[in-house]
């Protein structure tokens, strides 16, 4: 089943069109992640060709690009590179992470990563880090409460970064759920039936259906299975399930 672009398709196949538009909104965020990955890989490689291990100061070169992406993409509220522990010569762990500030400026995230003082120093178990590391592919983590960086209910999109074939960390971008909802709600409301979006585990990421609010679980269908399949539309006890192509979210119609 092809996806017809544009409004012309709205009369005949609105659901795949809406799913494609939602996928497109997150693809734009993934472009910011990919650009960060490319910048990071380039500067890590440069250090390696100089015959030395990269250091935290090298990562400062990422800042102009990170700041540009924060300002340019409305959905992106945090962006950066999170180093695999042991990558950098001068520190055991590091996040080169920038966020939108309250006053429309940008600010760095400063975390206490000393395990002797902070209970939150090990970030390697978070989905946004572990999924790209373990699968080698890009990932959408959440929705989840991000109590490490922003204290916001968020989606984090991430991609692995490699140095000479070895996993070096992840490039990532945060999308606060309230911003995501503002972006996709007009699309969901175009549909004739109450609609919501879930991740691979059935967690609601955005909803125009009062019976399924963000953060709750939609139980029953195996959404993970549907997402690894051929992106075919599924049906489960009266619900229509439309995968967003390329993005691990499923559009669910009551």
């Amino acid at each position: 089943m092809g996806v017809s672009p544009g409004l012309a398709a709205l009369g005949t196949e609105p659901e795949p069109w809406v799913a494609a538009q939602i996928g497109g909104a997150l693809e734009a965020v993934f472009e910011a992640v990919a650009a960060t990955r490319a910048d990071t890989a380039a500067l890590l490689t440069r250090a390696a060709t100089e015959g030395r291990r990269p250091a935290s100061a090298d990562l400062a070169a990422l800042r102009p690009g990170l700041h540009r992406r924060l300002v340019r993409d409305e959905l992106v509220s945090g962006v950066g590179f999170v180093a695999a522990p042991g990558l950098l010569a001068d520190v055991p762990a590091w996040l080169e992470w920038w966020q939108c500030g309250a006053d429309s400026g940008v600010r760095p995230l400063l975390l206490d990563l000393d395990p002797g003082r902070s209970a939150y120093s090990d970030y390697t178990h978070w989905d946004w880090f572990a999924l790209p590391r373990d699968t080698g592919r890009r990932a959408v983590a959440g929705p989840y409460v991000d109590y490490l960086c922003s204290d916001e209910y968020s989606l984090t999109l991430s991609e692995p970064v490699y140095l000479q074939g070895e996993f070096a960390g992840v490039a990532a971008a945060d999308v606060y759920l309230r911003h995501f909802e503002a972006a996709v709600l007009p699309l969901l409301r175009r549909l004739a039936r109450p609609a919501h979006l879930v991740n691979a585990r059935g967690r609601v990421a955005a909803s125009a259906d009062p019976a399924h609010l963000a953060g709750s679980l939609t139980k029953g269908p195996d959404f993970g299975e549907l997402l690894v399949g051929e992106s075919r539309i599924g049906v489960h006890e009266g619900m229509r399930l439309v995968p967003c192509r390329g993005i691990p979210l499923v559009l669910v119609l009551a």
């Binding site: 939150y120 929705p143 109590y147 209910y153 967690r203 709750s216």
Partner: protein, 246 residues
């Protein structure tokens, strides 16, 4: 006119500075806990008075009063002149004695109220988590309960205990409950060292955490809520007992 006279005291209270004493106490506790937990290191210089007051969102008058109290507790020293300022100074007393001094600053009524707030947060979080959790969400809680079982020193135990409750609020998918829990643990964290130093208490807490995790996993939301509240109440009761023994 009669009205005015009889309400004189109440009217004066209206125009008295908002919660100034409470603000001083809050700053004293915040900085004192940070020193106690090692977030501010021995010998470290604090930012200048106006900068620090600005960051804490209090007036310089409030800040000066708080710094004076911290000097009296022996947690700060002030050097005058060039290169002067306020410096963190850990007294020679053992950590436990210093924490007991800090606990004396809390009335049992305040501790009871803090415990009620904490139980309300954690009970609500456990109930919601049981409805909204799938197995992947529980990995972090399980890891924390395991680490607590192995943690040797009291500060590490208290950090892990706090993390458990923060992770529970996150499993409830509530940013607000999580933020409140983080703020609460900031207030409470150092004091909990006093009860968690005891191995029996540590075991009891780790067992309770396991029970909460199981109930959340089973989707038994009422049981999960009741167990989380019980865990918090037992810890608070132990803290009140320590306070009364001082």
């Amino acid at each position: 006119m009669r009205q005015d006279q009889s309400d004189g005291g109440a009217r004066r209270a209206v125009f008295s500075p908002v919660d100034s004493r409470a603000r001083v106490d809050t700053v004293v506790r915040r900085l004192g806990d940070a020193i106690e937990l090692g977030l501010l290191a021995d010998g470290e210089q604090l930012p200048g008075e106006s900068a620090l007051a600005g960051r804490l969102g209090v007036s310089t008058v409030t800040l000066r009063e708080a710094l004076m109290a911290l000097r009296q507790q022996g947690l700060l020293i002030t050097r005058r002149g060039r290169g002067g300022g306020s410096f963190v100074s850990l007294p020679e007393l053992p950590a436990e004695d210093r924490l007991k001094t800090r606990l004396r600053g809390w009335s049992t009524e305040e501790l009871r109220d803090l415990g009620d707030h904490w139980a309300a947060l954690s009970g609500a979080a456990a109930r919601l988590a049981a409805q909204r959790t799938e197995p992947e969400d529980l990995r972090q809680l399980c890891r924390t309960a395991e680490e607590l079982r192995r943690a040797e020193d009291a500060p590490a135990r208290s950090r892990l205990y706090g993390r458990f409750h923060v992770e529970l609020a996150a499993a409830a998918q509530s940013a607000r409950l999580t933020r409140e829990q983080l703020a609460l643990q900031g207030e409470l964290g150092a004091l909990l060292c006093l009860v968690l130093a005891d191995d029996t208490c540590r075991e009891e807490v780790a067992d309770r955490q396991r029970e909460v995790i199981s109930a959340v996993q089973d989707g038994a939301h009422e049981t999960a809520g009741t167990l989380a509240e019980r865990c918090v109440r037992e810890s608070t009761a132990r803290l009140v007992a320590v306070r009364l023994a001082l």
